[in-house]
């Protein structure tokens, strides 16, 4: 396990050292960026709309009963931007894109394509890992911005449409503006940026470490997703704690 962590840290460090070469790999960065966005945008919108909606549905009637209905926008808005959108979207992307990265790089390893790159003096970290890391670092925070907006919208729709809540759009928006500050959104996006790095590095590492045939690729994909999710949850706590210190 510690050997794995060491390898992941080393891979991350080597990829950071290769950052000056990113312009040369810009076409691959755009391809990956498109792949991540195109494959996930609709799913992100559906997921975040219903997360916002169910949050309003669960808390709205209770708050209304206690005459605290005007706080609903703030509660939904704060929860989504600080916690739910970053973590739920990161888990979604780990499952959808992280698995694809591990499978693609894993099959390249198994079928000697990575060896072929090395014989041509092409560094697999520059060619494969760097574009994926950079694309993920940009794409995931952008998806989370969309998720936050759609989640707020989902909460507002349910707040207005549900008979037990009956909070108007304007009232929801006013409550949201009152409680949620731009630094809350920035915190959520910063966390997402860190999660994006985790997903890309863990998935690429698992791909590069793949051994065996199709079964080995399957094992790598599972490990990439599980390890990414575990690390995301652990880092979520650590980052939240650290950001609370800065926000005091």
């Amino acid at each position: 396990m510690f050997e794995n962590i060491g390898e992941i840290v080393l891979l991350f460090w080597r990829t950071l050292l290769a950052l000056p070469l990113v312009w040369r790999q810009r076409q691959k960065v755009f391809e990956q960026f498109f792949e991540i966005g195109n494959a996930s945008l609709l799913m992100v919108c559906i997921l975040s709309f219903f997360i916002g909606g169910v949050l309003a549905l669960q808390t709205g009637p209770l708050l209304t009963e206690k005459s605290l209905g005007s706080y609903l926008g703030g509660i939904v808005g704060y929860s989504i931007c600080r916690e739910l959108a970053p973590i739920m979207m990161s888990i979604l992307i780990a499952g959808r894109i992280g698995s694809a990265m591990a499978a693609e790089i894993g099959s390249m390893r198994v079928y000697q394509e990575i060896d072929a790159l090395r014989t041509m003096n092409i560094n697999p970290i520059h060619y494969l890992v760097l574009p994926r890391l950079v694309a993920m670092a940009f794409a995931l925070p952008m998806l989370v911005i969309v998720a936050i907006l759609v989640g707020w919208f989902g909460g507002a729709v349910v707040a207005e449409g549900n008979n037990h809540i009956g909070l108007s759009f304007q009232a929801f928006y006013f409550s949201l503006r009152q409680f949620v500050e731009s630094k809350d959104v920035a915190n959520g996006i910063f966390k997402t940026f860190c999660f994006a790095l985790i997903i890309a590095v863990v998935s690429c590492h698992q791909g590069l470490m793949t051994i065996g045939g199709p079964r080995g690729i399957g094992r790598s994909v599972t490990k990439a997703v599980v390890n990414s999710i575990v690390l995301i949850v652990i880092f979520d706590y650590v980052l939240t704690r650290v950001l609370m210190l800065f926000n005091k």
Partner: protein, 262 residues
Amino acid sequence: MNASAPNPYGVSVQVRGLRKSFDGQEVLKGIDLEVRPGEIFVIMGPSGSGKSVLLKHIIGLDPPDDGEILINGESIQTPEIASKYRLALVFQSGALLNSLTVGENVGLYLTEHRLKSPEEISKIVSEKLEAVGLKDVADKMPNELSGGMKKRVAIARALVIEPQLILYDEPTSELDPLSAVVIGEEILKLKNEIHVTSIVVSHDRELAFGVADRIAVINDGRIVTIGTPDEVKKTSDPLVQRFLNADFKRDPPKPKAYEKFT
């Protein structure tokens, strides 16, 4: 690294006391051999004898447990070696990048190292593909090609590097006899035209005796014999003789168990 530089001579390769184990099982048990600049050196041996592992060590893909590999007297493990000498390996499977077209695969070295303009790369790709007898395949994906075509594309990809040392891993496996002859002729043509040093791993006797300047027979991780094709044919080693003369018998001796019941 300059792919356009002239390539007057191949490089020499020396393997000294090479040992390698995987999970406690020793695959290479002290290999010593020397390949001269510009010669075609064929490594033969039965399946599982360590030929492909030896090839991967020679090009530096695997580090040895013990011993060393020298290219023109310099260790293959030296970081600068990849930029100092142009080495290429034609994989058994071709190892073409499946996400790229044939043309992109062939031109990958030039594109990634930014050695030529896109127009020049496109021209070189067409030339090299034609040199291995392939036309109008540059826009195809590797999965649209037959096994023989993939191998020839892999050779074209190696040619683009203008290598000083080219290694072939089972270049004629899975090929029909006609395609195998084409590959053999390609190997000879490269030696005659650009004097590249070639190391060919194969258990194809026709190919080995057809193209080799010298042959090494390897078995169970050890070199059994090294010599010119004639010397190897005349060797008295029983394993080499069995390997070289193995053939089907139309009326094989009946198994003992069969005799017992009849």
